[in-house]
Amino acid sequence: MASNAGVAQSRALPGPVRFITSSIGAKVVMAVSGFVLVGFVLVHMIGNLQIFLGPEAINRYGNFLQGLGELLWVFRLGLLAALIAHVASAARLVILNQSARPINYSHNDYVQVKFAARTMPISGIVVLAFIIFHLAHFTGGKVQPELFHFQDELGQHDIYAMVTLGFQNWFISGFYIVANALLALHLSHGVSSMFQTLGVTAPAWRPLTHALGPVIGTIIFIGNVGIPLACSLGLVAIPAGAM
């Protein structure tokens, strides 16, 4: 029987590998890495909202992060590992799930499935593209190099000028807005899903875990879409001189 060959095949693998390649283990990888990534996204958003406090605040924050030195690389590599684990596991599960139903119904009528849940792979892919673009843009200075070298009076990297001027380009801020709206959608399903995957079963918790996805999604939407939108609409003062 083919199915028993499958069992034998999986038994030959070392324990941890067997776990992360099992159906539930792969989901646990997604949930734990997703948790790390959501934590990062929330902290990153709160940090970035300092743009509304003016140049001193955001530039000092940027300077503080740069000043972390090696520690900054610990965070970066940790996040990279989480991202790789998340995407690799997602890609594998999507392929397995598609092959689990080779012939589809001619007539499909979902009763329950939510839009956000159905579009997880698509929203995820756009977010991945966005992460790469975003790193090239504000971390690498490869997208708008002319905005990357400003310094404020204290001799710090002038993040405020880079960001506010960068978002004067509607193509760039448009991509930030769309990608972060999709990130919010991704998290509106993902965060609630995470609790189910990690086995939060108590019925009393369910209203909370079901609400937390949409709540966090909404917070991320307001914060992360708000920054490029406010800059593009001229609601954040553009530094004089820098133009």
């Binding site: 099992s22 539930i24 092959s99 689990a100 369910r206």
Partner: protein
């Protein structure tokens, strides 16, 4: 009533199969859905055609044999109902009805609307039982079990193993079924000694059968004729993690 049926016809596991359109007359709204198919099959036989093969047994919603996807919904439009308990009064004269088999790689079609669900049997054989003979029914209260725990076990044990969860899941995942079969023992003392071995073996078999993976859409719960709650999937996840991390046998 007059109905237009689009029925999946497939001669054998190797045949490609296709939807065939039929017109049926003289259907009473008092008939059950399966009685409607019986009448329809009589008419096919009278014309010298092959009747449509479909699974059924008890026709009272307890055996889990009946298994039709009706207009895209396993067991049809009524919530918490097997298709044998679905009645034609749910439909109107002139309606068009699509009837298809459960669709999953792990449930290959044998003929027309009948699929091979032995994958579920193999999952059960891998660990969905208690190996010792527990004897006759013990005296009431000899083994105290909290009412809340007993209720959780009984709710999970309501699963009739029909496979509607797999049919409904966009990923053809069997986790509601496996969750129910693990959960029914999880809340009873008799189930505890073998819990780690049970969950590992059942999940391993489930994966090997080629079912998909849960992505928490909860379509299974909406389709389940016994309204099994997706908390059994969360329990399955936690139980599997505990078994793997503790390394217990």
């Amino acid at each position: 009533m007059h109905l237009t049926l689009h029925v999946w016809r497939q001669k054998s596991a190797n045949d490609k199969g296709r939807l065939v359109q039929y017109e049926v007359d003289n259907i009473s709204s008092d008939m059950s859905f399966l009685e409607m198919l019986d009448v329809f099959n009589e008419s096919l036989i009278a014309k010298g055609e092959e009747p449509v093969a479909f699974d059924h047994d008890c026709r009272e919603g307890i055996c889990g044999a009946c298994s039709l996807v009706i207009n895209g919904i396993p067991h049809g439009p009524d919530e918490g109902t097997t298709v044998c308990q679905l009645h034609m009064r749910r439909f109107k004269d002139g309606d068009t009805i699509y009837i298809e088999p459960w669709r999953a790689k792990a449930f290959p079609v044998i003929r027309d609307l009948i699929v091979d669900r032995t994958a579920f049997d193999r999952i059960q054989q891998a660990g969905g039982f208690i190996t010792i003979n527990t004897g006759g029914a013990p005296d009431a209260n000899a083994l105290p079990i909290a009412k809340t725990e007993a209720d959780l076990a009984m709710d999970a044990a309501a699963c009739i193993g029909c496979g509607a969860c797999v049919a409904a899941c966009p990923n053809a995942s069997a986790m509601l079924f496996v969750g129910a079969k693990v959960s029914q023992f999880l809340h009873l003392p008799q189930g505890h000694p073998e819990r780690a071995r049970r969950v590992k073996a059942m999940v391993e078999q489930m994966d090997a059968e080629g079912f998909g993976n849960c992505t928490n859409h909860y379509e299974c719960m909406a389709a389940c004729p016994k309204e099994i709650d997706v908390r059994v999937i969360a329990e399955l996840n936690l139980e599997f993690m505990k078994a793997k991390i503790s390394g217990r046998e």
